[in-house]
């Protein structure tokens, strides 16, 4: 599926929730289900330090796509990571570079991607794009 389509699908899912509590419960559930990053990738190199929570991100190229795995020590952060992984993993570098992030606003999670939250998510998106940029340049 294309990034845009996945984003629309996520927006659809979130439109079913009436209030913040249901949204958060869903994010917590996503966080719990997120496949863990391999321990060997939980390195200093892959860590994104926020003031509040930590994020680990690892990107690998398979064929013409990039596969991302990630983890966090906070469950809400992890749930949002799950959403980002679903959107950006297994996509072409060029598509990742073009993608916008407006859907985060549409599902009511904009505040979590604000630089002031210092939860590592803003840097995570930046790093996803950096991976894409690097893989794009290689090819």
């Amino acid at each position: 599926m294309k990034i845009k389509e996945i984003q629309e699908e996520i927006v659809d899912e979130f439109s079913m929730f009436d209030d913040w509590m249901e949204r958060y419960e869903y994010i917590i559930e996503l966080g719990k289900k997120l496949p863990l990053i391999k321990e060997e990738y939980k390195t200093e190199n892959n860590i994104i330090k926020g003031c509040q929570s930590k994020v680990w991100l690892q990107g690998e190229q398979t064929d013409d796509k990039i596969v991302f795995t990630a983890d966090s020590d906070a469950i809400l952060t992890k749930g949002i990571i799950a959403i980002l992984i679903r959107t950006f993993s297994n996509q072409k570098a060029s598509d990742i570079l073009e993608a916008d992030m407006n859907f985060i606003d549409e599902i009511g999670l904009k505040e979590h991607l604000s630089p002031t939250r210092a939860n590592g998510l803003v840097s995570m998106i930046k790093n996803i794009k950096m991976y894409a940029l690097a893989f794009n340049a290689q090819n």
Binding site: Y24, A74, I75, L76, T77
Partner: protein
């Protein structure tokens, strides 16, 4: 006894709703809310007497200068400094500490030692590390125990004739521990070392008496005692302030300037280059008046009750652990719930209107000591109530339910 409803009515922000819920403000350790009199003092300054100080002969400039210097006098008497010129206006605690560390760069030699406590905020660690890099001095750390208390036997052992300055907070921001500063000051002086007390977390709860304490420097911020942000005080003993070189060059801090040589102004102006935060300095005086009207006995009584009640109620929650259990502590409760990240709790209770601080509280070495990513910190002020604590406890329980 405090008339709590009357006190709360002094703070317009407390009637706010956040995320549709009544605001419960328990982040007083980060900054306090402002009473109407302080807000009014700021507008009154700009509406009636705004002019640059210490310069003009015109009436407004005189009025502004008088108001600013009156405020300095209020702070002098509040902390019982011997002279008004020992009270320097700064932009806050961080500024005050940097002014001192900058001055000591001219005094310290390689191999000299600086003692810093394990309980410090980053702003009382990093400037000293920078000073060490500049001078070749060595930073030594006074350790703490599991309760979050500094170990005095270790402190005594660290002190030597190599020790040139000791720096310690009066009260820890992350844990609320009240440090035995009188003992520490006397011990530092026995080996001929100077001592700086970071009073940022102490001044909201007590009135420091700098002459009785006999500390060489005492720094604090205005915004934690109902004053405006961007204000602060550095108290320094006259002899030390004369000895230290100026921090910033500019207007107001000079006596005479020529391209060959400049001579510096007398205290306090030597350290107050440029146009200061005049409105802020004046309103800080108003804030101190306000705190004194409420009365520090009343403040301490109310906060003690809140600490006691908050501790009791929070400990009802299964798996909750409090960090910082010193015998002497102020109204700060730093806690975690087993298996749940503090960020997750903080985020959910924010949705329920509860404002607490989560994270490492700019005191990473303390978190490393306890081997935790951070804590949730509820810090109470005299305008908080037991009912608000009940709301917080209910919110934390709800968050725990959602997260486990």
């Amino acid at each position: 006894m405090l008339d709590i409803n009357k006190i709360r009515a002094d703070f317009p922000i407390l009637t706010q709703k956040v995320n549709g819920k009544p605001l419960v403000y328990f982040d007083n350790g980060a900054t306090s809310q402002k009473p109407q009199v302080v807000i009014d003092a700021i507008s009154k300054y700009y509406q009636e007497i705004n002019a640059n100080i210490h310069r003009g002969v015109h009436t407004l400039s005189q009025l502004a200068t008088d108001a600013y210097e009156t405020s300095r006098g209020k702070i002098q008497s509040h902390i019982n400094a011997k002279f008004a010129h020992e009270v320097l206006f700064t932009s806050g605690t961080t500024h005050g500490i940097n002014l001192v560390t900058n001055g000591f760069a001219a005094i310290l030699k390689p191999g000299d030692e600086i003692l810093v406590s394990a309980l410090e905020h980053h702003s009382n660690i990093v400037p000293w590390q920078m000073l060490c890099e500049k001078t070749g001095a060595v930073l030594r750390v006074i350790p703490m125990n599991q309760e979050g208390e500094l170990i005095m036997a270790e402190y005594d052992a660290l002190l030597s004739n190599k020790t040139k300055i000791v720096t310690v907070n009066h009260i820890s921001n992350a844990l609320g521990t009240v440090n035995p500063i009188k003992y520490m000051i006397d011990k530092a002086h026995e080996v001929g070392a100077a001592i700086l007390i970071d009073g940022a977390q102490a001044v909201p709860h007590l009135k420091p008496n700098v002459q009785e304490l006999d500390c060489d420097f005492y720094v604090f911020s205005g915004h934690k005692i109902c004053g405006p942000t961007g204000t602060g005080i550095l108290y320094g003993k006259e002899a030390w302030l004369n000895k230290l070189p100026p921090y910033q060059g500019g207007g107001e801090m000079i006596k005479e300037v020529s391209f060959e040589k400049t001579t510096y102004a007398e205290l306090p102006h030597k350290f107050e280059a440029g146009t200061p935060n005049i409105a802020g300095g004046i309103a800080l005086g108003t804030a101190i008046d306000y705190m004194n009207e409420v009365g520090f006995d009343n403040i301490q009584q109310q906060e003690k009750e809140l600490l006691h009640y908050g501790t009791k109620r929070l400990l009802e929650i299964e798996g909750l652990k409090i960090f910082g259990t010193a015998k002497e502590k102020t109204s700060v409760i730093s806690f975690n719930i087993e298996g749940i990240h503090p960020y997750d709790i903080g985020t959910i209770i924010d949705k329920l209107g509860i404002a607490v601080r989560t994270g490492h509280h700019c005191a990473q070495p303390i978190m490393t000591f306890f081997n935790i990513p951070g804590t949730i910190r509820a810090s109470f002020a005299f305008y908080n109530t037991k009912e608000e604590i009940d709301l917080m406890v209910a919110a934390v329980k709800k968050a725990q339910l959602m997260l486990s």
